[in-house]
């Protein structure tokens, strides 16, 4: 066979099956270009224009250069720069939810994967902790709103116990509204993170844990010296996706605060701010916020990635260098 084909051998070599690979991934890229890249570029383009509607009457588009960005960073009469205020809100809300989310998720992932604990009924627990994620965020938020509203059961219960008086309002206090949002985000996402981290831990060679134990490492040492470094890529992935999700936080605070970010806009996130402009289809201002968010997201993602994966990369390099030396 081979001999017969030698004449065309060269030609055959140039026939690359790679093109089928390209063809297979082409649909994704086409969809990406049409539905993501083009809108993204349009957003950037629109952010340089004044364009909105008064009723059904279209104003603009008029080119204003960086006018929209300037307007965003102009302080209001009280000296507050609103976009910074909302960015800070978003950050606080995210951190308040993400810290417990990662701590608990990590603990649970360790418990579930520990051969020493060997927890029974794992699939049941895994399903249960994942459950909150299956509820629509808006519905979950509505539930909390109903529970904590002025006529809700929690208010009634606490009033009965004499903890609070009738004028108490959970939604008039910054800490309580922010706390609820953080709690909901935590409840919704810790299960998801647990499962991803578990998959990461289970991907680590069990013999490493064993040998560490045999060498006399206690569980804390095993965690910091073995599990964590090897889990780092998955952990970083989790953190970055959680962070992107956090920056885009919208549905939970929107529904809980009836779109107003009560009290005093302290639970208004960046996307809620953006959405406020879309009421009058103000594509210029909302585009400018989008672009700023895009930059923040990209920047934060890069920083987190650099920070967390640097030691891991170092180790890899050392590892390779050592190998090289030996060879």
């Amino acid at each position: 066979m081979e001999k017969i084909q030698t004449g065309t051998g060269k030609k055959l070599k140039s026939v690359s099956y790679a093109k089928w690979g390209y063809i297979f991934i082409a649909p994704f890229f086409l969809a990406y270009i049409v539905f993501t890249l083009v809108p993204q570029l349009l957003t950037i383009y629109n952010s340089f224009f004044e364009t909105y509607r008064i009723g059904l009457q279209q104003i603009g588009p008029n080119f204003v250069g960086l006018g929209n960005y300037k307007a965003l960073f102009q302080p209001d009469p009280n000296g507050t720069i609103l976009i910074l205020k909302y960015a800070l809100n978003t950050l606080i809300l995210w951190i308040a939810g993400a810290v417990p989310q990662f701590v608990i998720a990590m603990l649970l992932a360790l418990f579930f994967t520990s051969t020493r604990l060997n927890i029974k009924g794992q699939s049941f627990f895994k399903t249960v902790i994942y459950m909150p994620n299956l509820i629509m965020a808006a519905a979950f938020s509505m539930l909390f709103y109903t529970l904590f509203s002025r006529v809700g059961p929690i208010q009634a219960l606490l009033e009965n116990w004499g903890v609070i008086d009738h004028t108490f309002d959970f939604f008039a206090i910054r800490v309580s509204v922010r706390g609820m949002i953080a709690l909901m985000n935590f409840l919704m996402w810790f299960g998801n993170t647990t499962i991803v981290l578990m998959a990461g831990i289970m991907g680590i060679d069990q013999s490493l844990f064993e040998s560490a134990t045999i060498d006399g490492a206690n569980s804390v040492q095993v965690f910091f010296k073995v599990t964590m470094p090897l889990l780092m890529p998955i952990f970083v992935y989790c953190l970055i996706t959680a962070m992107i999700g956090g920056i885009q936080m919208f549905d939970v605070p929107q529904v809980l605060s009836k779109g107003d970010g009560v009290p005093n806009g302290t639970t208004r996130t960046l996307v809620m701010y953006l959405n406020g402009y879309l009421k009058t289809r103000n594509l210029g201002m909302s585009g400018a916020i989008s672009v700023i968010m895009f930059i923040i997201t990209g920047g934060l993602g890069a920083i987190v990635y650099k920070m967390l994966s640097a030691p891991y990369k170092d180790q890899n390099r050392k590892h390779r260098e050592r190998k090289g030396n030996v060879l």
Partner: protein, 489 residues
């Protein structure tokens, strides 16, 4: 073979993508089955109407009313041809099912026409956003997907009426406006006075009070005497203090009296040069509410909040509620609760200031291919005395028909048994309706009215100080309508 499989798979993926891109266009079609359901229910709803031959009369009467027009054959001819061109699908955009209920009970849909209800709640402006998109796309939409009729509220009706997306209803043959309340016509007319739709209700609003509480506070529950005790804001405030002494609330929401002030404004929110201006009525409302909150005469709940409507249960402590006829159905269901409610313990009086609140208008969308049916619907809910009578008798509405309203107002045997224990509320509303004026409205009213209430609520419930609340209101305006010039801080 492998290649064939590969090509097949790639083709499949492409088909998937194409199907995805085609989706937006298909969506309305996909929605139809769901939207059609109510239409499917209609035969059932139609039956009672069919049983009442009177309800069908308008249809039978029409040829008669059109006959005089036959004198102008030239004008008649195109109209006569029109039935051929009538569409098979009638699309109605609305934000709740209030009108849908009336429509299904009292209007007989012509045979072969499917009615599509596209209902989007108005929360956070969702209804208008959806409606606007559909209207802007009206020209390109297929005939059966064009909006034929849409509903609009007093706060934003101007936005649609002053546009080319609504059409002159005299062009579709609706000219008989004699019995409609003047302000409902003005509201639906553009700057040149061209009327673009009708309302099926007239919304003079009054004070609805608890009989038993009034007796305790004022020593009388007689409407005439109660009215004498609260016929000005000064007296109203004085009664509020009396009520407080007896352990009652005067109103149950900080915004309860807002419309009584805001719909009596002497200048629009925004002047011709886009300057924001505070009418003395608005300032007066802020002062009054501030005083009421500080003295504990009212609650910090919004007008629609359950905390307020819970006050309508029998064990509620609130004396007065402000509302028009639609208030019974929308806000007073707690009062009508068979167990915890207090039907019959309510009376209505004109209150300190005549005003109107809300109202739903039916607007004719430009490009509708069901003009005959549009005209039919408009006539059914305005000049058809039989239907208007039923709206009063069965639905507790106040009709947009002066003749029918007068009939009930002057009928000594007529009374509202739904909630007022037989008091003739139509007489009160008829008196108030005379004073309703439609003026000083702008296209910005909804955002400004609701925004002011929402932002001030935070001041009233103590989370921010007054300056911050007002600043938040200004920032909201800046965000929504950058063209409005704010007062210098």
């Amino acid at each position: 073979m492998k290649k064939l499989v590969a090509i097949l798979m790639a083709a499949l993926m492409l088909v998937g993508i194409v199907a995805c891109t085609a989706k937006p266009a298909e969506q309305p079609a996909a929605e139809q089955p769901a939207a059609e359901q109510p239409a499917a229910e209609q035969p059932a709803a139609e039956q009672p109407a069919a049983e009442q031959p009177a309800a069908e009369q308008p249809a039978a009467e029409e040829p008669a009313t059109e006959e005089p027009a036959a004198e102008e054959p030239a004008a008649e001819e195109p109209a006569a041809e029109e039935p051929v061109a009538q569409g098979k699908v009638f699309n109605i955009y609305a934000w709740n099912v209030e009108f849908k209920g009336f429509f299904e009970k009292y209007y007989t849909v012509p045979e072969g026409v499917t009615v599509n209800w596209i209902i989007t709640p108005s929360d956070n402006g969702a209804y208008q956003q959806k409606l606007d998109e559909a209207l802007l796309n009206q020209e390109n939409a297929a005939d059966d997907e064009k909006i034929d009729l849409f509903l609009a509220e007093a706060d934003y009706i101007g936005k649609y009426v002053d546009s080319d997306y609504t059409m002159d209803i005299s062009k579709i043959g609706f000219t008989n406006a004699d019995t409609m309340y003047d302000y409902t016509i003005k509201a639906a007319s553009d700057v040149n006075g061209v009327c673009k739709g009708v309302s099926f209700q007239c919304c003079p609003a009054a004070v609805i009070y608890r009989k038993s509480i009034a007796k305790d506070v004022l020593g009388t529950d007689d409407p005439a005497e109660v009215q004498a005790a609260i016929d000005s804001w000064e007296k109203f405030d004085a009664v509020a203090a009396q009520a407080k002494e007896k352990g009652y609330l005067m109103t149950a929401s900080f915004a309860e009296t807002f419309r009584a002030f805001s719909n009596n404004c002497t200048m629009p929110w925004v002047d011709a040069n886009d300057n924001l201006q505070f009418d003395p009525q608005i300032t007066k409302w802020i002062e009054q509410t501030d005083n009421y909150i500080k003295n504990g005469y009212t609650l910090t709940a919004g007008v629609w909040d359950p905390e307020k409507t819970n006050e309508m249960f029998a064990d509620g402590k609130t004396m007065c509620f402000f509302g028009p006829a639609w208030y019974y159905n929308f806000c007073m269901t707690n009062a009508m609760d068979p167990e915890k409610g207090c039907v019959g313990d309510w009376r209505i009086v004109m209150g300190p200031q005549a005003y109107f609140w809300g109202g739903t208008w039916l607007l004719a969308a430009t490009g509708s291919d069901n003009t005959e049916m549009l005209k039919d619907i408009f006539e059914t809910f305005t000049i058809n005395e039989d239907v208007c009578t039923k709206l009063v008798e069965n639905e507790g509405q106040y009709p947009n028909n002066t003749k029918v309203a007068e009939k009930f107002a002057n009928d000594p045997n007529w009374g509202n048994t739904m909630i007022l224990d037989g008091q003739n509320d139509t007489a009160i509303f008829a008196e108030l309706a005379k004073d309703i004026k439609w003026e000083n409205h702008t296209n910005y009213d909804q955002i400004l009215n609701e925004g002011l209430q929402n932002k001030l609520q935070e001041y009233f419930n103590g989370s921010v100080d007054y300056e911050t609340a007002m600043n938040n209101f200004y920032q909201l305006i800046k965000e929504t309508y950058p063209n409005i010039k704010l007062p210098a801080a």
